[in-house]
Symmetry: C3
Subunit: 452 residues, 3 copies
């Protein structure tokens, strides 16, 4: 009987799936393009680095939050990539990169099935998946230390199935933003907008709906510092993210035959360095302390900002973009705190605000030496290099759409979740820490610790 | 006098070694194959990632064990790769990949000398070494917190010199298992069996011979949880392992010209995600806690299981294989605990049991679109894709041999060590922790900690 | 008005910079060399790994120092790469790799401007930058736990702008040491001298000028152990460095078409393993303890030593070089301690002393099978392979120059800084730890800790 079932399913599988497969072994693809291996190696290795950013986000979030919630943060950092993998394979990838329907949404590629069983298609999926996972994980920093664990499942699902891939389709899947009649259309080389602005403004929505952590604001409404439990882990996480960003940005050529990858790598690094320098100096001038947390966020801000323009600018422009990002992140952190919004790791400031700045910077600094993702026309040219205001307009439109789309849908998502399942842990649980109640395991049972 | 000695040794070296060298500079190899560089880059970069898994294993083991033994675990995680490097260069590589003798053992390549001084041969050695190091390090998790440090030297030597390379020869060195007259012979793409089953069942032997840690089982024989000292490090380690696995599996094509690497990468990721999802959900249904430790082990279980089939299956099958792995690891952890066997990090369940499942899954899910390590015949085809039971039989035989070989030799090794040198620290030392007595250094001297 | 300024700057930029750009898009470079992509991928990926060593240094230093200074160490490990990035782009790269002036210094390439806007030039910059950053970060370990934070800015600037690039020019930029009329001139494949000896002896100068930490030496002048606060982080850092070194050494071919990269990778690994083995065994024979700190430093010592010879030797020679390095690092640590010099992480012993040993080992073990950085003449041949004393002389000269140059300039730098701005924190601050006074943030506020 079992044997019969197995044989029947065997036949069904052969008929339904594999017959439609395009090039699952890669033999045809290689025959058509003998140089394909180098591009595959480039995209895969860069994709591995982007995946590794999950470890970076986990360490940054843990480091900037308290020991009593560290188990919770580890759980959710693993969970969001798990949900991303499964949901993006099922729906997200099809919505984002499937055949375009009216400039709005993709409509093919469900479950990577049928003709998607193809080496090139799998390669594209892998690349897009690690980006989608990044967008999902950005949110968690802003809602840390008070969100119910079950809610992570739900919002990860919604971000990965709808919010991220649909906006992604508009920019990278041939959708309407990429077709804007200004400059080269709205462009975003590696995702300042698609990944970071979207992630950052869903995060803002979450932080607003949840409200601040217990003790974050005094009775007078003034913010109080809640220091994280491990600066070493936060620094380690930042280094891992910086490292992973060398996959994120240069890999976004999706081809090693674009030797521009060398320029992209340098620009990525310079913006990170400039962002960190500016952030630590600004805070030092204000407080006479060398604030390492802000320096780390300055580095990340520079990386986020340069992500959109990295392929279209010179190194000096990357430095300028990074310096501005480093200033922006400091001002933004104070801005949100001053408005009663509690974002434990600064996710909104790092990713949301600097994602917007990155998109706009393309319209200023793009120097017209490089095209969309090749050396061919149309070249991307901003205001400072004789491109006039066209590209800048396209960038501002895209940024405004990214902010609106992600904040509104994020807000609806968190509000609905709150009504239906409740998203905030009890005050007792929050004060005691989420680890024991939700996970049964403190993160550091061998050490004596306090709950501040 | 010194000069004379030096000149004589100079002549001896030139005569004995270099005259036999094949292509030490790589010039000839390049002349014969102008596309070789991309394959070298692929194999080396993937090999670097596999090496980095040593850091992952170290962090997972430390995180899941107690602070009082953390120095010890760091020492042994560095040590086993050191021993692996030296011993595999001397003996192991020759036994595994040398000229075949009767299908049983390799017999050439000692000390990488003579004609082994060749770029291709060194490349093969590097790749095989990082795999051998993985097998050795798997064992240590199961014997953690109670094994004498000296014993690590001995068993690492035995695993790397004999147990691992001889079995490896049978599967990957042209030995008898690869020649089985069923399907494509016993196949194991990246080592569910060769690396993980072997490592996992040597680990089981070690755990049995050593006996459980003090306090693991109550007087009634019921197991008690001994929580690890750092969930953040355990999570970091798991992310590092997941990252390194993208070298482990896709790199096992040993050629970038196999564009199937894209499929392998996706499958690797999907099984990890599915394994983590299943493990956390099962435990949640049982305990109403989101158990992050079990989720991390579920991720690793999915990775172990997909290691054998990763090149021969579709993404949906990787999800199924991962789901099963996530369930298996939970059941297996309870199973061994219920039988009085103490495996502090779950090494037997993650690597041993899921290594077996990975081997068997090839016989079920291999879809016949891809060959042994190329796009050519023989294609690997399992039961669900019209391959009948042939491949499944070859897989079951190989799995049974892997389990028997590694458990029996591992048992003999640990028993003999116990008789001759004694392998277990004293009860006092165990309770106090191994760090001070064996290493003179607590891992965290600046923090107040307890010994629970 | 703003618009006018923007348009004018736009014109200025176009005229001044881009007109002189060589090949910013990479199209010409690819047209001339269709195999360039694989070399770009190799160099970039290896460069990413070298960058990641920053995380390794940060973890090793933090792990080997006390919890009360961990924030400070994170700050400075991020800071020195930030300063390196900005300063090397502005000056250092031009001094090192610009057009040669009299064998002494480079004179072109400021700010990566004009004709430096070229994919090949950016690639070279990226590679040299990550090396420069390594040299800068080596210093910090020796001056840890007592240097004022402001002083890090200054010495990082001086090392990156002058000390490192000028010496680097002499060896790698076509300068006078590379032109020595002995053997193949002074050679240093991946920087035992240029990076490690230079970094290590600037570190020695810093440690001498600063003086020992409070409590390091008793009233009798005898050294006391000051254990670090996290052996797990130190081990993690060592694994990260070992991993990154696979970029450092093999990537120094600057081309994947040198299949010798496989030999370089194996040699790198074998020296690390041998160094760790020797260091732990020596200390065990002396103290009967398995000293993990010394094993980790032995691994690093082996890596440093093999960095110069890695492309010119066989695997067995790498083992020998590593064994010697493992012994040297132990003796060196005791030597400096015995002379009242306090180097908290052993930077002088690991990088300075073993950098020298690495340079000299080329003159002994280079086997004449490989040239400077290609398979062509001149081949590098040492004493043991019939090369006579010529190469050895070139190596000794280069090593002596490296030591003298870096120690003297380092000493002047630290002495001047001390006179002008003061480089040491107050005794109260040192005892309390640098984190709160300089940075306002303890690294681990949730844990109860002591200040020992």
């Amino acid at each position: 009987m079992l044997k019969k079932v197995l044989l029947i399913s065997s036949i069904l599988l052969s008929v339904s799936g594999l017959a439609m497969a395009a090039d699952p072994s890669g033999a045809e693809t290689l025959a058509q393009n003998s140089m394909a291996p180098i591009d595959y190696v480039w995209v895969l290795v860069c994709g591995f680095l982007v995946f590794f950013m999950q470890a970076g986000f986990a360490m940054v979030e843990a480091g900037f939050c308290r020991a009593k919630n560290a188990t919770n943060l580890m759980a959710k950092n693993a969970l969001d990539f798990i949900v991303a993998s499964l949901v993006f394979m099922a729906f997200g990838f099809a919505f984002m990169m499937g055949n375009d329907l009216g400039g709005f949404i993709g409509t093919s590629g469900w479950f990577l099935h049928g003709e998607n069983y193809d080496v090139g298609r799998y390669l594209t999926f892998f690349w897009q998946l690690v980006f989608a996972g990044t967008a999902a994980t950005i949110v968690s920093g802003a809602v840390a230390e008070r969100l119910k664990f079950g809610a992570y499942f739900v919002y990860s699902f919604i971000v990965i199935a709808f919010i991220y891939p649909i906006f992604g389709h508009w920019v990278w899947g041939g959708g309407w933003l990429s077709q804007l009649p200004f400059g080269a259309g709205h462009v975003d080389f590696a995702g300042s907008g698609v990944v970071h602005t979207v992630g950052g403004f869903v995060a803002l929505a979450g932080a607003i709906v949840l409200g601040p952590r217990f003790g974050k604001f005094g009775k007078d409404g003034k913010p109080k510092a809640i220091p994280g439990h491990s600066i070493t882990l936060a620094a380690l996480g930042t280094f891992i993210l910086w490292f992973g960003w060398f996959g994120f940005n240069p890999g976004s050529t999706f081809s090693a035959h674009q030797l521009r990858i060398a320029v992209v790598a340098v620009n990525t690094n310079m913006a990170a360095a400039a962002g960190g320098a500016m952030a630590i100096l600004i805070v030092y001038l204000k407080t006479k302390k060398w604030d390492v947390g802000m320096m780390l966020n300055g580095i990340l801000a520079g990386l986020v900002a340069v992500t959109a323009p990295c392929a279209w600018i010179e190194a000096w422009a990357a430095v300028v973009i990074g310096l501005v990002a480093g200033a922006l992140v400091v001002m933004s952190v104070y801005f949100w705190e001053g408005r009663g919004i509690d974002d434990p790791v600064g996710a909104v400031s790092v990713h949301g605000i600097n994602g917007v700045w990155g998109l706009i910077s393309v319209g200023l600094f793009a120097d017209g030496t490089y095209g969309l993702c090749t050396t061919s026309e149309p070249l991307v040219r901003g205001l400072f290099y004789g491109g006039g205001f066209d590209q800048l307009i396209a960038q501002v439109i895209g940024a405004a759409v990214a902010v609106t789309w992600s904040f509104v849908l994020g807000f609806i998502t968190f509000k609905l979740m709150d009504k239906i399942i409740g998203i905030r842990v009890t005050p007792q649980e929050e004060i005691k820490g989420l680890d024991i109640q939700e996970h049964g395991t403190p993160a550091y049972p061998n050490f004596y610790s306090n709950n501040n």
